[in-house]
Amino acid sequence: MNTLIASFVSGLVFALGLGLSGMTQPAKVTAFLDFFGDWDPSLACVMLGAILVHTFLYQLIRRRPSPLFAAAFSLPTRTDIDPRLVAGAALFGIGWGLGGFCPGPAVTSLASGQASVVIFVAAMVAGMYLYRLTEGLWRRQESAPRQVALPPLTAPSPPAWQSPQDF
């Protein structure tokens, strides 16, 4: 139960942060991406604020052997740069510039009831399904020999930490 309350509060704070920062307005997102037009640097301030706070708190949190309400931390441990990562991020960026939405603001904006958001989110979920259906095609390309990721040179992770495939 505690884990669910924490998750709910986290989602709520995330949505309020998106709303306050202006990121639920696609026009503000595309104005940031419009380097060659009427540029609006607000999104850079959002990233700066989020990264400042999370970098600091992350350092404190990872000193703990485990989270407060769960057995272990679920953090990605992959360090290799593969074509999937770059191609996926590149495709995402095209959709982001085209629609003015990334997943967080899109889901939050569903509450507005606007048709454009409903259409976008339905297509986004369809895109995720499409990936799942075709996943074998993209994974097969990974069968080529790959460098084994070396452990980080910095402080080793506590043994209890897991390594999921994605975020």
């Binding site: 884990t3 669910l4 924490a6 986290s10 989602g11 709520l12 704070v13 942060g17 709303g19 202006g22 307005q25 026009a27 503000k28 595309t30 991406l33 301030c45 990233m47 700066l48 604020g49 989020a50 990264i51 400042l52 999370h54 485990s66 309400f69 769960a70 272990a72 953090l75 360090t79 740069i81 999937r84 990562l85 191609a87 996926g88 991020a89 590149a90 995402f92 960026g93 095209i94 959709g95 982001w96 510039g97 085209l98 003015g100 939405f101 990334c102 997943p103 889901v107 507005s112 259409i119 976008f120 297509a123 986004m124 979920v125 995720m128 399904y129 499409l130 799942r132 994605d166 975020f167």
Partner: protein, 143 residues
């Protein structure tokens, strides 16, 4: 730069960083929205409840914004249904192929000093800028 909102955006961003920290401290999870949503599509035992509730929190926050600050949803962009569908498909597929989005790579990953997230963030920023350039400066701003 007439629409620049540095203070509100900085504080809003700090709330997002706080949210990601709460989820990590209490549940040990990464606040990557694309991963959280995608995980709901293939439910696994003991790994679905927190995702559903997190999305419930996002929606509740959205409803509160609509009630008390409706201007947060005021400014859309001129896009046809076809453009929105293509955009949604690209975002959904791309975030799965690349294992993350603006929150998972851009906020959580960069805060952890992840090289993968740095590369991913550079890639989606670059193609985002290129796409908006094409739409706003070559195609007249609407699509």
């Amino acid at each position: 730069m007439e629409h620049f909102t540095p203070i509100a955006s900085l504080i809003g961003g700090m709330l997002i960083g706080l949210s990601a920290s709460l989820l990590l401290l209490f549940d040990g999870k990464i606040a990557g929205i694309s991963g959280i949503v995608a995980g709901m599509l293939s439910p696994q035992k003991n790994d679905t409840g927190w995702r559903v509730v997190f999305v419930g929190g996002l929606l509740t926050g959205g409803f509160l914004l609509k009630l008390f600050a409706p201007q947060t949803f005021a400014i859309g962009i001129p896009r046809s249904a076809a453009a929105l569908i293509l955009a949604g498909l690209l975002v959904g597929f791309g975030t799965r192929l690349g294992n993350g989005c603006t929150s998972g790579h851009g906020v959580c990953g960069l805060s952890r000093g992840s090289k993968r997230s740095l590369i991913a963030t550079a890639a989606f920023m670059a193609t985002g800028v290129a796409t908006v350039y094409v739409i706003n400066h070559l195609l007249g701003g609407a699509l």
